[in-house]
């Protein structure tokens, strides 16, 4: 199952490729096993993660046939979804910048993976949808939570209830994605952005910034601030010692 997702590291940026062309259906909610994902993200000095789809599309989402098969086999769907969520959660809690490089279709579970990313970059020709309700389901891997956090409740309700497909143009207008670039440049643009943002920083600082940034949207303000203070103090003390050592060695 794991070869349906590829991992490679290029210049401290991890590139996660959904590799099940042509539609890049996600074989299971746990699209990579958590232990595998952990080994990947524990690559020393990793500075960011880019997620893309192989071939023509990002991902058309969950494989419905397979999903209903699981149900009929008596497999515990709840556990499967929880495992999928745990993988996404792990990616988020690496505290590394996550960038989705989207082209072609980005539906359902594919969109839910993209929604977990900090920056979403899409080709001009990309298409977005949450088609689950049309199949008697609802977005089951964080979609009902992260979509409203990204585009607001009103738009989310429309997208989820109708299952309507929207273009990149509309997606950028409603704030679903951040940047649009020509199809051929999606990957290079995304990689360059991640690389440019992180090349002069240590993994430690990057993780600190992302953690503080995430706290600002997940914690109540006073707790986010207390956390920011805590992180700042830790870094300040480390930096102070480093500066002292530098002065010593200059003597």
């Amino acid at each position: 199952m794991n070869d349906l997702i590829e991992w490679r590291v290029k210049e401290a940026i991890g590139i996660l490729t959904i590799n099940n062309p042509p539609e890049n259906y996600l074989f299971e909610p746990e699209f990579v096993s958590l232990p595998t994902m952990k080994t990947w993200t524990e690559t020393p000095n990793l500075k960011g993660i880019l997620i893309q789809g192989k071939g023509k599309h990002f991902s058309a989402g969950g494989d419905l046939r397979r999903l209903f098969e699981m149900v009929s086999n008596g497999e515990r769907l709840e556990e499967k979804l929880a495992a999928g969520n745990a993988v996404i959660d792990h990616l988020i809690h690496t505290n590394l910048p996550l960038v989705a490089a989207i082209h072609g279709v980005c539906f359902g579970g594919g969109l839910e993976i993209a929604l977990a990313c900090d920056i979403k970059i899409a080709a001009e020709n990309a298409l977005f949808a949450t088609p689950e309700t049309g199949h008697g389901l609802l977005p089951g891997m964080g979609g009902t939570v992260r979509l409203p956090a990204t585009v607001g409740k009103a738009k989310s309700m429309q997208l989820i209830l109708t299952g309507d497909m929207i273009s990149t143009e509309e997606a950028i207008r409603i704030g679903l994605i951040d940047v649009t670039v020509p199809r051929k440049e999606v990957l290079s643009y995304s990689f360059t952005l991640l690389h440019r943002m992180t090349k002069n920083l240590s993994s430690r600082i990057i993780r600190s910034v992302i953690e503080a940034l995430r706290n600002s949207s997940t914690l109540p303000p006073d707790r986010a601030i207390a956390e920011e203070t805590r992180i700042f103090c830790e870094l300040a003390k480390e930096e102070y010692i480093r500066r002292l050592a530098e002065k010593e060695s200059e003597k």
Binding site: D118, K120, V179, M197, S217, I225, E228, E239, R243
Partner: protein
């Protein structure tokens, strides 16, 4: 009249408008004394009932280059209560945001790091055409520590915030306007006057919720 209790700022109230000037030129670095002064000013402002608005500027060419890092790092490392110390620094600036009267930062020259965080605690930010802004903390192996991450993200969105905070790259006035980090770009010689005119124009029953509405109405009025 400037109040003699302050060492690093001037505080002067004319026509019910409070003028706060950071007076540590040329770069108006924010020192431990500055934060102490701001703490004192906080008490004073919270007890003055007839203040109508506040304008914040830097003396000379610049708003401020931000925290005095050498001093700050030493202070944090020396203290056992560095968390409390930083929280005090935080609330010595954050009270501005909570005030029921409008607070505007008029930004000339550089406005970096903690100085931008100070400006982000004001309700409005006007800057001059040559202003340079930025959050360079990460390049010093630190993070913005006085609420800047939250406010930058709220104004410019997560993707842009991540980019500017990680790279620490500075940006000019026009970019700041496009990002939503500042509300207006004004010629340097007109900056303070324009900020004052704007404050005088705001209604007495100012409400933060109406921030955008005020800005839109005002820009229609001045034809920008």
């Amino acid at each position: 009249m400037s109040d003699p209790i302050f060492n690093t700022i001037e505080w002067d109230v004319t026509d019910r408008i409070g003028h706060l000037v950071i007076t540590q030129p040329p770069s108006n670095k924010m020192t431990v004394s500055f934060f102490r002064d701001m703490g004192l000013l906080k008490e004073q402002i919270q007890h003055s009932s007839d203040l109508k608005a506040i304008i914040i500027t830097g003396k000379g060419r610049h708003f401020s280059s931000g925290a005095d890092l050498d001093e700050l790092l030493e202070e944090i490392s020396r203290r056992n209560d560095s968390d409390t110390f930083l929280q005090a620094n935080y609330s010595s600036l954050s009270f501005l945001e909570m005030l029921p009267i409008p607070v505007i930062s008029a930004i000339r020259g550089v406005c970096l790091g903690s100085a931008l965080e100070l400006a982000l605690f004001s309700h409005f930010r006007f800057c001059s055409e040559e202003a340079v802004l930025g959050m360079p903390e990460a390049t010093f192996k630190l993070i913005p520590g006085i609420g800047g991450i939250q406010r930058f993200t709220a104004l410019a969105g997560k993707a842009k915030a991540l980019d500017y905070i990680l790279t620490g790259q500075t940006f000019d006035a026009q970019t700041a306007l496009e990002l939503g980090i500042v509300d207006a770009v004004v010629a340097k010689r007109d900056l303070i006057t324009e900020a004052e005119v704007f404050l005088q124009w705001l209604p007495e029953n100012f409400s933060q919720v109406m921030r955008r509405v005020y800005l839109e109405k005002y820009s229609r009025k001045v034809g920008r």
